[in-house]
Symmetry: C2
């Protein structure tokens, strides 16, 4: 039987979660078990501590279908730091069922650098995302019920911006009409479903620092506009208490373990292309109060997850990363250099040379934030010595710290050199600064991101976006950070422009204020907030044995 | 502060679930904890036993907005049996979020006869219903993706019978159009959402006796028809493995406790008006293998839940109830006697006399199954001595065993007399027989239910239903039990006909084959498989405190 992530996970010597908690300094009283290997943490029962662990952010080059292994390196780095004597925790996002059922690949790392139990984390986990789906759709039902029961708030059914959500890849739900069938079946109107990880409630859960803050953020969310064009909020509907109640357990961070027994907090799961792409502040803050070093990741390339980690998450959290790791692979660099996925097997050092400009741009981006990044060159079987050497030579020439990692096959032992480089960087410290201020004009914030982070020439707004910007200003909502919704494949807004495109203009087609989350979502290109399933969904290979064991999951 | 179900629940001395398990004979190894007070049971790790506990089914008169307290009596009876020395477990359905957010009232009993922790059981619980929602909608997404990716099976988009589902009261989703927005957004078609508890997957989960049986039932489900009018099943889509995997944990029964520490299995939650209304066979079978007596309930009046318990659940399970309790209240009998809810405070023994015909019919129904029922007259504050006496006198005259219960206020101590009568009935035993055979013609099965159970004159099928019946026969699907979908308020299909209506004809407007569940759903009147929210949803009074305590839930 071939070794897969699932077979490796099943053969791992997983430890009772109470042991992991004890090792992390979490008293048994603060644990709420979910089975034998998962637990929620009641943060009110954690010891008071002034510990303020350092944060290592793991990001990546622009991803390709070849796979970079960012979660794998995040887990492997944490295990390597623990092997080298550090007090360390890892903080990851929780996977959405959409990609799990759609394409092969979860968010729990791989090989000997995984978080366990992978089959549970990838399927329902402790129910957080389902609770968010429930809260999202309870709000939607309350809105439509309000219309149906007389519409005292005079909500304009044509201007309801709150969408329904499912944790599913389901393109047929992107544009729907609801309330059909006559007066007893509600008020007909256009609507649509987002994937739950793009719901504002996911962002709110991930950015709230207390239950009070959570409720206040929920209350602030704008759900649409009245016939007089006045914004309608959750507070107007008096629904924030019910939503907060539905999120009662989901708000508590989840404790699991890496395959080597390092404590891992897996909590919150916004995508980084259509949302802010970072695990919860509760997760990071809890980990920082318990460990000296917290290794965490942000989704997709540094242009997406890392930019939002800096400008949204760590700004709200009042901290910044102390070190940043950029994951790159020879295979992905070759694709950025123009090689087709089917031809990745053939050695092509020249393609590596052509593609390395993508890595160079992300290094440049992180340096602009005042942090000297460390590159993790994540080795895959089939990478040739010449190809690897080319990347190492480039790094030396550019003065970039780089380490070869082999964590998939070797676990923490395959990431010791990376751990050393990261520790050196943590000792040196960062001279952190934001690229834009919240109070900058929206156009200026957008231009800063496009020019400094994406390396583009300029930004343009469609007529619709211009109108929306005028409204944002009218309501006084423009002094918020930007949450870009952009393809992950390219630094630009055009998925096929790989490598390091230049001179491009990014088109903003829509601006959506998310007052609960506290940012303005800017949709670019044809990015979708509800993905679709591929021609052959991964779901069709899945099964379960009579004893309850997952089969064909990965 | 007034005593509410929630305040009583919070003050109760809830015990660690491991202690409850030990008392029930469940080894720690077979427990998967969900927090400190809930657990899933891994039935593969239960001791082999030949124990075959007796089954007490608790049903009720036709419910009214006055509330009968069926779950409360179920729990109180179990606690009373335990107080009187019996080895007993209680088996209940798990609550849907729809009614919890919509109307005040859960499915966990009340007062001093509740299952705990009520706030968790009423909100998400162990995630079973969310897993069913996921499986239901994963199948829907796979169907629409199949259409979008070329439709190799030639599924007719106009004849897809599989609907989407949410665990929500949301009338605006009853009739929708999906797939709008152009070729990249799927194939436009009409669709609709049911509440999750009405999903066939809920019925499948509740009726399956092993994982293999579960998968086989999922595979058999019909999702629609081809352009050539051939049925398309889940097996044709090769999706049964993925659905079974999504139900991996949901299939395991949940262990909780009553307020007096009696072990309770709460698992599966189909409504009894629009679905088959019984908790899972896994729950009942597990309880029967552990205890001498299992007290369980079926939803709404004996015309709905109890009829389906006999003809669907216990037929599939190869057992039958050994005793049946019918819950009645003076308040409800008065409403059946024509009193308005607002005037229930005034003594009106004559209205009790007029309304008692409803109770008489349900007694008659249970006797037809060969079981002598016991009536539980569930006492409410405000019931007058004359009113109560009238019911007791009627029972004596009719030779019906009856006990006054005060379990809301006194717990098991308020149900001791009922327990004695039930034990007497268990000793006597039943002479059980079905009212119809599976192989009877569909029209005959329908007529039997309408005449013998509802006390009506006849049944008629709409033209649409007649066409559907012809199709059922053509495909050879007619030798299945009937699952009636009918208003709970009346013995007839007209909600306002209270008491004991006579001479009425029930109209079947639609027949829906559910081959996975193994029954034919027959829709009557204007019964809806997706409820709506009321004018003032209960959600608007809910909140959560900073320490995570639920507020305003009940």
């Amino acid at each position: 039987m071939a070794m897969t992530d699932l077979t490796i996970a099943k053969e791992a010597a997983i430890r009772p979660i109470q042991e992991i908690a004890q090792q992390a300094g979490i008293a048994e009283d603060a644990l709420e078990l979910y089975g034998k290997h998962k637990a929620k943490i009641d943060v009110n029962k954690l010891p008071n501590t002034t510990k303020d662990g350092k944060v290592v952010l793991v990001t990546a080059i622009s991803p390709t279908p070849a796979g970079e292994g960012k979660s794998t390196v995040t887990v492997g780095l944490a295990d390597a730091l623990r092997r080298s004597g550090e007090s360390v925790m890892v903080a990851l996002r929780e996977p959405s069922l959409g990609p799990v059922m759609g394409i092969k690949g979860g968010a729990t790392g791989g090989g000997f650098a995984q978080v366990l139990p992978m089959e549970d984390i990838n399927l329902h986990f402790t129910g957080d995302i389902h609770a968010i789906t429930s809260a999202n759709n309870a709000l939607a039902a309350l809105i439509d019920n309000h219309l149906h029961q007389g519409n005292a708030l005079r909500i304009d059914p044509r201007r309801i911006t709150w969408k329904r959500a499912l944790d599913m890849n389901d393109r047929a739900l992107r544009h729907v009409t609801i309330g059909l069938g006559g007066p007893a079946q509600g008020v007909p109107r256009e609507d649509g479903f987002d994937i739950t990880v793009a719901s504002e409630i996911m962002a709110v859960l991930c950015l709230a620092t207390s239950r009070e803050d959570l409720k206040e953020r929920l209350a602030r969310m704008v759900i649409g506009y009245t016939y007089d064009r006045e914004p309608v909020t959750v507070r107007d509907l008096e629904a924030q208490g019910a939503l907060a109640l539905l999120l009662k357990e989901a708000f508590k961070p989840n404790l699991v373990q890496t395959i080597e027994g390092t404590p891992a907090i897996v909590h919150g799961g916004p995508f980084a292309n259509i949302a802010h792409g970072c695990n919860s502040l509760m997760a990071t803050n809890t980990a920082r109060s318990l460990a000296d070093v917290v290794v965490t990741e942000a989704g997709f390339g540094a242009d997406l997850g890392a930019e939002k980690f800096m400008h949204i998450k760590s700004r709200k959290g009042g901290f910044h990363p102390d070190a940043v790791v950029i994951v790159a692979t020879v295979r992905a660099l070759k694709m950025h250099g123009g090689v087709d996925k089917k031809e990745l097997g053939a050695e092509d050092a020249d393609a590596v040379r052509r593609g390395i400009v993508n890595l160079a741009k992300h290094v440049e981006t992180i340096r602009q934030f005042g942090i000297e990044p460390v590159v993790a060159l994540n080795r895959f079987m089939g990478d040739s010595a010449a190809e690897l050497a080319h990347v190492m030579d480039w790094a030396e020439a550019e003065g970039v710290a780089i380490a070869l990692t082999e964590v998939w096959g070797k676990g923490g032992a395959g990431g010791l050199e990376l751990a050393e480089l990261v520790k050196r960087q943590l000792d040196k410290g960062a001279d952190f600064g934001y690229l834009y201020a919240e109070e900058d004009a929206v156009e200026e914030k957008l231009r800063t991101i496009v020019q400094k982070v994406y390396g583009g020439a300029d930004v343009q707004l469609t007529d619709k976006a211009k109108k929306q910007l005028a409204e944002l200003k009218k309501y006084g909502w423009d002094a918020l950070p930007i949450c870009m919704a952009k393809t992950q494949y390219s630094l630009s807004d055009q998925p096929k422009l790989l490598g390091r495109p230049e001179g491009f203009t990014v088109t903003i087609r829509e601006l959506i204020p998310k007052l609960g989350a506290g940012f303005i979502v800017c949709l670019t290109g044809d990015i979708m907030t509800m993905p679709g399933l591929p021609k052959s969904p991964a779901a069709l290979n899945m099964d379960v044995a009579e004893d309850g064991q997952a089969l064909g999951l990965f």
